[in-house]
Amino acid sequence: MNGAVNLAVAHRLEAKVLLDWFDLTEIEPKKKFRCYGGSEGIALTVTGMGVENAAAGVRHLHDSQPPGFRAWLNIGIAGHDSAALGEGFLIRRIMHRESGELYWPPVTDLKLPGCELITVAEPETGYPEDAAYDMEGAGFFAAAAGLISTDLVYVFKIISDNRENPVANVDPKQVPDLIRGQESAIRKLVSHLRERSARFAGYYGMPVEFDLLLDKYRFSATRKAGLARLCRRFHALGKQDRLTALARERFRDAASLMTAMDAELARTGKPVI
């Protein structure tokens, strides 16, 4: 089962390898944020650096996509006091240094090394805490968590600089190699997220009849919510066939349709097991 995943990176150099792996091509060129998509339900945006850009890039990709449930994964480079260059970490806690805001990405059983991330406004050279340092994570997480459950928002960082190899020495050309070095972890994460987002969509996606009926009748906002509930109940109770049949029938208006749906559901008197 494969669901949709949106990837967000700060820089084109971080995107390079991912575009290749997931066979992504550019969609809507010349927009503020470059966005890529493929046939596998994976999309990618290059947000630019800093929390504001990260958040805006996430929202831009979201707004350019049709409605749906998508997991989010931020992949990028980060600094760390002692971790080796190229080491990858699934982030467990994010602190936005400027605001003091804390974010808590989900925990998994993927057995990937994890650490805390501190998102800073300027590259960190002192690495004062036992944490990774980046410039986007907090902005990314805050924005993506506004679009989907936080249980579908992950951050993965690869160490590009440490005390012995300061940030000033990072050669941008090495970035694709750093990402490439974490191929197995990234692929594992992406397929894990695809499974999770597929499950999520399966739980909360609307039955097709819902859209059909919305097109056929006029619903107030309250009635629309009521229709969603009714359609879901038909499915939960295994009465898809009856819902399909009702959707084909012609009712005077939305109210009469919903009365008929209610009456049909009320006939479900038999025990569940």
Partner: protein
Amino acid sequence: MFSAVYVETEARDHPRARAILERYRDLPQIECERYGQIFNRKAQNFRLQKEYPALILARKHGRKVLPAPGGYGFDAGQSHYFSHMLNCIYDCRYCFLQGMYRSAHCVLFVNYEDFADSIRQTIAAGPGNQVFYSGYDCDSLALEPVSGFAEFFVPFFAEHPAAVMELRTKSTQVAGLLQIDAAPNCVIAMSFTTEAAARRWERNVPSIEKRLAALGRLQDAGWPVALRFEPLLPEADSNAYENLFKLIFSRLRSDRLHSVSTGLFRMPADFFRNTLKLYPDEPLFARETQTENGVVSLQQPNREAWLAELEAALFRHIDPASYYRCAE
């Protein structure tokens, strides 16, 4: 069982927390200021989280002993509940906890000593016998090897014979209890649904057979044992409950039971709304419901007659004096 351990900074050095952190040294350990930072966050999905729940070690502040809701429990006198833990390692689809909490992580409050102080004060202040229910916001015994909850509180209540503690559980973690003398004022109350309901709605819960075996051993060792038939749910097989009763009372001494109760499926309306949002595809919640005094239950024609029949079947095995209907 857990994918990570979060620990409050101020709980970290508590000996109980230290022992648990040592036990889970191979899991990610993440520090937080307050458990609510993780547990009460918005936009969490309980259902997804149940796949990889974490343990949160915290210190309980504020009131630790609360009045039990009216109609809850076996004693009409003063009763209270206390929650050393929030949430449960099992996953019963009908459980109200999934509608009550935003997170599926389990919070364990490690400062049992402070709970004990509050209970001591409540006992001293209250008149006569008082009942203390644990397992209202969790399963009392499911995490026993990690939490040492019974190991701490049973000896405590043994020293306070005027009070009664009920441990509500579906767990078979009774090895610790079997190693100590039975405490006449500590009641082990095991919940049961029918075989079909257990198979369909109780994930990770020990089988009815295993639960009965554990209860049998407790009874043999002299522990007061109680039965809780909750939630009662109408089934196509009209003999389902009778068969369950037959099985249970072929294994347990009914004359030695502390009490037996039943309770219909019911949930506060806001918890039900949350649960329905989490499980829009669950047939149990898609059925016709009714709401009375802010509590949702399933619509069921002839409910009273059904209940009376079920009780009649029960009374063929037990003394009606030991029975009550849980109305909370």
